[in-house]
Symmetry: C2
Subunit: 329 residues, 2 copies
DNA sequence: TTTTGATGTGGAATCGATTCCACATTGTAC
DNA sequence: GTACAATGTGGAATCGATTCCACATCAAAA
């Protein structure tokens, strides 16, 4: 791989001049410029990014920290991010925490060392140490999906989405509505969606039995188990189930079908996420579309803005959701 | 961000010595080592990757070129790759071609410039220019899913998988088996799977009518259209459908259901890919599991081996497949 | 006592770019 | 004809590490 010096020698000019052509800065005469261009063409020379980064402190790389790579949410998000970023000549450096909280911290450090121009963090739960680490990071950083005061966020409207789902059930005449959630340390999915559920119920004067609220851990299996618990332990069997993710809902459906329940006649059910399977379960699942790709795009745009203008004040964007009403209610 | 010089000054030693501690190479006395360590601790110093890369020509970054980010295949693949890579301290730099052939070439160049330590390329179709570009790349490179002579490959056994599916149909008594494929410029998915289909049919002395073979373009919609064509144009309506991807199969199912066909009674159907929806369509789809995650892992291992041993001879790995027989046949 | 080899440390070149400054040439206005 | 700005080019420092080589100690071997 050739270097700028070699190009300079071949074109009989100094490195400075080659550099000028490369970045078209400063004055270079037509003649010289063409001579240099020609040499560059012929040799297929491309400047080393590392040398450039070392000097300029810019890398054109954005670090993206994900809780898990192989989920629809993540891959849609990344698709959205990449869509905007690639347009602006940035590339994505992937960091997969595999739901390990420690790794979030580690990766932020690692990405700093690599001098990425910016970081997009999809956080699951936000603890004190993470916030500290975020605050002492001078690299532009966007957090998706969870609120962190000091930086820009792209947020889903978990609270209102949850209320909308419950509201739909109530409209359809349901009163005994049960809930499958996740741990509340996940503020967005665990806490806010639950709060939406509780508030909507309360506002309509509906009571919630303790056994109607169960927890899972994001996978289909635990949705099945949660549903089982609800059915087996409730004195009043509910007539509707609100699961905070589609996968949990699918698990619940599996259990209900196994026990001979008709959906939606015997039990209505809805999830959140608009995952692909939600269309193909039987009956098609009512869900909320969070438009992750749009979220990714929004985050990328925020980040680029922040990088290019070097502005500090954090912006908060709350995205729209769409309730997809299908046959499961 | 501190530099090695500052650390050296604070510890009253030379940069050389600090570097020695950092990489534990050469001789450093206990005293000095501890003194330096202490300063490093206190300042939270971490060496700049760029300066390091500039000097050592190593980046601990692997470029991964994907045809499309947000597909199950890709995300599983990446998950597998990351699994192995992160263990060895490598990170992934993502490059998404969005099915644009030109971009494959571009990205290979770009990744070179960024001096990645290796490249994993998931190619869709392999043309002359791509092979040329690959050959003149001195960076270790693995191609997944398509055969390229000069480099290491991780391959799916498309041909035999296709035969296995067709064989299953035949076993179940089907003779009129039709085929929904994709363009044959995609050697693996388009050509090999078709060849497997044809060969298996021929070997059993079964004839294939022209109209039984239709093409789609990887999405559900085109599966629907292909199925429609088969039904509408065939003089002999087939009794089984082999679609080369699950999505195509799902599209076909949608059409068949719409027209009142019972699956598998009136029409048996199978796909390839073991995508998540394949479990949740009704009836569950018979398909082939290619274990993409395993493929990703295999590719990553090959790549690391190639990087660390600096060996050249290309290796070919053909992965196992599993036929998942479900209610659709 | 001298040699030798292991141990310990620093100086300075190097990687491949960018960029500040100095200097040279040309054109234009007074 | 002089002054001054605009234009064009190169020298050399710089970014932050690694690494070759030289040099200094010191203990054990000859």
């Amino acid at each position: 791989m050739a270097t700028i010096k070699e190009i300079a020698d071949m074109a009989n000019v100094s490195r400075t001049t080659v550099s000028r052509v490369l970045n078209d800065s400063g004055y270079v005469s037509k003649d010289v410029r063409q001579r240099i261009m020609k040499v560059i063409e012929e040799t297929g020379y491309v400047p080393s990014e590392h040398a450039k980064s070392l000097r300029t402190k810019k890398t054109k790389v954005i670090g993206v920290i994900l809780p898990k790579i192989s989920t629809e949410t993540s891959s849609r998000l990344v698709a959205g991010i990449d869509d905007i970023l690639s347009e602006k000549g940035y590339q994505i450096l992937l960091a997969n925490t595999n739901l390990d909280q420690e790794k979030e911290l580690e990766f932020i450090k690692l990405l700093k060392v690599r001098q990425v121009d910016g970081i997009i963090l999809t956080a699951t739960n936000v603890n004190e140490r993470l916030v500290q680490q975020i605050n002492k990071t001078d690299i532009p950083l966007i957090v998706i999906g969870q609120e962190v005061d000091s930086v820009s966020n792209v947020l889903y409207d978990d609270y209102h989405a949850a209320r909308a789902v419950v509201s739909l059930f109530i409209q359809k005449g349901h009163e005994a509505i049960s809930f499958i959630g996740v741990d509340e340390s996940d503020v967005a999915v665990g806490h806010l969606r639950k709060k939406g559920y509780i508030d909507e119920m309360t506002q309509h004067g509906l009571t919630v039995e303790d056994t109607w609220i169960q927890k899972g851990i994001f996978d289909i299996e635990s949705g099945y188990e949660a549903m089982k618990k609800i059915i087996e332990t409730s004195t009043h069997t509910p007539t509707a189930i609100f699961a905070v993710t589609d996968r949990l809902a699918v698990g619940a459906i599996n259990y209900l079908k196994e026990k001979g329940y008709q959906i939606p006649e015997d039990m209505a059910i809805a999830g959140i996420g608009a995952s692909e399977i939600s269309q193909y379960v039987n009956p098609p699942l009512t869900t909320v579309d969070y438009q992750n790709e749009a979220a990714g795009k929004a985050a990328a745009k925020l980040l680029i803005e922040s990088i290019e203008t070097n502005k500090k004040e954090p912006k908060k964007i709350t995205l729209d959701y769409r309730l997809l009403v299908r046959d499961s209610v």
